[in-house]
Subunit: 409 residues, 2 copies
């Protein structure tokens, strides 16, 4: 007998029929003797509908009130799923963020969980009931409703699993696990059976959408075993677990890509120490995150600086990038949105030399020019022209042996 947390996303509770499936799956786990906690998202489309209402009122809705509205999506799902369990002959009780007490900070629309009082969940389980917890939402110290940002239900699930010391946190989704790369653009992509928290974190940060980044951070911090699997079948999915010996043999666990960044190229700035500091200081002041930064080695008295910012921030960033560029004496600023960041991730890189060099060679073999590079202990990312996305992903995936059953060596 185990304590199981099962999280179902918006597609998995997207209709009353699908809610019945969720209920039956939970009851099967109970029939096997497990205690079950469900974490549910809003029905797919519902959050957008609610936010649309808010935007009808005003272009810049108050964040506190946005959360009051957005939280109703999960509130309705939780109660409907509890009813579905009852309709299938089981017992269930819905629990909202302020009832469970999922305490967060007061950063409305993107709050972070500070603590979870698991007692109301434990009481519900002790009564023989399935606890159906509304995902995505919490409550701050002042009793205000907060939400955790898009994908926040994954974070709710892992945090609840940690708080009640669950044996496993199952994340049910519309794919059946984590893949070596996006199967939509690479037909040889394979499902990964086990992956470390660190690798999953890099993959999620670099564009893989299957798990929310913060949920992986939390799972790593509290050692929660996460099982990503399909809500439409019973096959084993992907286990996200602590680093283990066998995983270190895998040089490259997966290939990710991300089209959300734009490249900015500042040219002709004088070669002085304060120039780069001024530029990035100004950008950081506006709360825009810069990812890759390349400073060209030049022979003359001028330098060029290239960096990437999220495309969604570019319109907002342009005026003051240009203002700062002028102030530091740069001659020109160019922008390029036709870029993609392709990345390889793997624990084994730490002990295998030449992985980055092999990546560059694989791209060069396809005639792909690399515009920027960034690396960490377990990943290498290259910025390339967006038109090469599929070509690059397939070349890296197969070049590092990920198409084979044994994984990339």
């Amino acid at each position: 007998m185990a304590l199981v947390v099962q999280k179902f996303g918006g597609t998995s509770v997207g209709s009353i029929d699908r809610m019945r499936n969720v209920a039956r799956r939970a009851l099967r786990a109970r029939a096997q003797g497990h205690d079950v906690v469900l974490i549910v998202s809003a029905m797919s489309g519902e959050t957008n509908r609610l936010l649309g209402l808010a935007h009808e009122v005003t272009g810049v809705p108050d964040a506190r009130e946005m959360d009051v509205i957005a939280a109703t999506g999960e509130q309705v799902s939780a109660a409907l799923v509890a009813m579905a369990v009852q309709a299938e002959g089981g017992q269930a009780r819905s629990l909202l963020g302020h009832q469970v007490k999922i305490l967060t900070d007061d950063a409305f629309t993107k709050a972070r969980i500070r603590a979870i009082d698991g007692s109301m969940i434990r009481e519900t389980l002790a009564e023989g009931k399935i606890a159906v917890v509304a995902g995505f939402q919490g409550v701050d110290a002042g009793g205000n409703i907060t939400t955790l940002g898009r994908g926040g239900s994954d974070t709710s699930a892992v945090a609840v699993a940690a708080a009640i010391n669950a044996d496993v946190c199952e994340i049910y989704t519309d794919v059946d696990g984590v893949y070596t790369t996006d199967p939509n653009i690479c037909s040889s992509a394979r499902k990964i059976s086990r992956i470390s928290y660190e690798e999953m974190l890099e993959l999620a940060s670099l564009g893989a959408k299957v798990l929310q980044i913060r949920s992986v951070e939390l799972a790593m911090k509290y050692g929660v075993a996460v099982h990503v699997r399909s809500s439409f079948s019973d096959v084993e999915g992907t286990w996200v677990v602590a680093e283990e010996k066998s995983l270190e043999d895998v040089v490259v666990a997966g290939v990710a890509y991300d089209k959300n960044d734009a490249r900015v190229h500042v040219m002709g700035a004088p070669d002085q120490a304060n120039v780069v500091a001024d530029l990035f200081g100004a950008i950081a002041d506006r709360n825009i995150s810069v990812d890759m930064i390349i400073q060209s080695a030049t022979t003359g008295p001028e330098r060029a600086v290239t960096f990437t910012v999220p495309k969604s921030d570019l319109t907002r960033a342009r005026p003051f990038i240009e203002e700062v560029a002028k102030r530091i004496g740069a001659t020109e600023v160019r922008y390029d949105e036709d870029v993609v960041k392709v990345s390889i991730v793997g624990l084994g890189m730490r002990s295998h030399a030449g992985v980055a060099a092999k990546m560059f060679r694989l791209l060069a073999n396809e005639g792909i020019n690399i515009q920027a590079i960034s690396t960490s202990e377990i990943k290498v990312s290259c910025l390339i022209h967006a038109k090469y996305t599929e070509l690059a992903v397939r070349a890296l995936h197969d070049g590092f042996g990920l198409a084979n059953e044994a994984g990339g060596k």
Copy 2:
């Protein structure tokens, strides 16, 4: 400077544009120096949509979970109206049942308010903000979400007004006040400018739909001055206030009618003391409320008993009415749904003799047969055939002088 509670029903917040009107009206009151608390219902149609979802899951949804779902309607309205106030340049904060803390019993879907902690509302007002309270909802001692039943937002408004000692509780609705009778069937109906709690309570109980009965009970208990008025205009509506000298001069304040009851006629029961007790004891055991009861005076050894029950309970009530009828030896049970209860209400009846007799004469003049009668200190009700509804209402309304500006003497 006053403390004003303004309640807006589902029609008054039925669209984003209407919410803007609500916001502007509240801001006008603030501009006049008043502190303003808004109580809002769900957008019209929303509660039915939500309950429809629940009924898709199961025919008999769990009452606790129903309330979790239903409460989201008012939650969304409250946040949207708070945003609308902000969009008009004001400051506002939405407050939910569990935040205000509107403490109720745990009778889900029809909870009763036990206490209201007004401190969060007072804090919000002290910050110069308009408090936008979600109507219809509360929280029980265990932290579960409860709702107050249909029309419960009126009750929320009056209870909040009592808790914070408001100077007035304005109920905004789609009519501009309380009328001497239903203007849809009687063109000479007039708006009443002042009416006592007692009369309003009788009118609401007897079919007038403008205020929920419990809200009037609460207003009477705590002496809350209620102003029923139109959300689409600025004209004065109807003040519902404590009994005062001038109101006692009005013999009949209004005429109401109610088509929701059915008549049950039990014939041929032996004339024994226990028969009536057995019959009504059995009905009360099933939690069905009986309204009018007539026991015919017979000359023989048999008696006939006539009573009314809500039409909505009739299907459920028939089997055991017939079972009890058989047990007490009755020969026949007849049902009639083609009935209406017309009533006259007025404080002045207490000091004016012959009011009931005048009512019977007015009906007789129109050839209308009276099937049952019930009276209280300030009302007389007659059960008649439903086809005479309009005829009877007009005859009573004009016969008691309600068509004249001076009111019924």
